[in-house]
């Protein structure tokens, strides 16, 4: 069952795959991915066991939410049985999203709060739309998440794109 080649890079390049896929379909002008040479970092200001932690997902609450593509939030203590993901570009022939724990581990986060690994779970978790517009993400969606984080007094955000 060996599948890892020591003569090739093994991690899939989605930048390369999507560019070649759309070029092959006749779409020129490939998507220009966000690219930076530096990255900001904020270190924990207190022990993780004292921090309120929340999750941000790219999934949607339902099919309508998948179409609306707006930021959304829901209470963390009412874990949904399922979320809408069909509008996202996950690998639909290789896997599924029937288990929330595989992309939105709210239950595991609650366990971590109960056993003291983190201080608490934020009162809400948040969803953001995926969009080709980096301007929208930078000027609208990301600031909206920051506002929610401040409103809910969250210390740490776990970000999980599908």
């Amino acid at each position: 069952m060996t599948q890892f080649s020591p003569t090739h890079r093994n991690a899939v390049s989605y930048i390369d795959k999507s560019r070649e896929f759309y070029l092959n379909k006749g779409f020129g002008n490939p998507y220009r991915w966000a690219t930076h040479t530096e990255a900001p970092i904020t270190h924990l200001k207190k022990p993780l066991a004292d921090c309120t932690v929340t999750i941000v997902t790219t999934s949607a609450p339902n099919e309508e939410g998948g179409s609306n593509r707006k930021i959304w939030s829901a209470p963390s203590d009412a874990i949904p049985e399922e979320l809408f993901t069909h509008h996202l570009s996950w690998h639909k022939t290789a896997t599924h999203t029937d288990d929330l724990g595989s992309f939105l581990p709210l239950a595991h986060l609650q366990s971590a709060a109960e056993n003291g690994r983190i201080g608490a779970v934020g009162r809400n978790f948040y969803g953001i739309p995926t969009t080709f517009s980096q301007r929208q993400t930078k000027t609208k969606d990301a600031p909206a998440v920051l506002d929610q984080v401040h409103r809910d007094q969250v210390d740490v955000a776990i970000l999980i794109p599908l």
Partner: protein
């Protein structure tokens, strides 16, 4: 999502990104990244494997506590492939060759 991470980090909120599109996240540049070499869709562990999911989450906690520099990536030790399925790397957005 990587852009959201950068915005939060720039405004005093520590973050960790869990994902399976290594090149997209690393090219954007985030503070902390937990990479699982899986097909897109299950960045926090295989479906129904709660032990794996908890372990991956813990790797993120550890990274939050211990990453000294931005752009710190940790690859989880898990392998997706099974004897029945070794094809997922090829099959995503596969360009089908037209037969003559």
């Amino acid at each position: 999502m990587s852009l959201v991470s950068r915005h939060l980090e720039s405004n005093g909120i520590p973050t960790v990104v869990f994902g399976s599109a290594r090149d997209i996240v690393e090219q954007c540049g985030v503070a902390r990244f937990v990479f699982s070499d899986f097909p897109l869709g299950n960045p926090t562990g295989k479906p129904w494997d709660t032990e794996m999911q908890k372990t991956i989450l813990e790797i993120g906690f550890d990274l939050l506590e211990n990453a000294r520099y931005p752009r710190t990536t940790v690859q989880t030790p898990f392998v997706w492939e099974t004897a029945d399925d070794v094809s997922w790397r090829r099959s995503y957005m596969e360009i089908k060759k037209q037969s003559d």
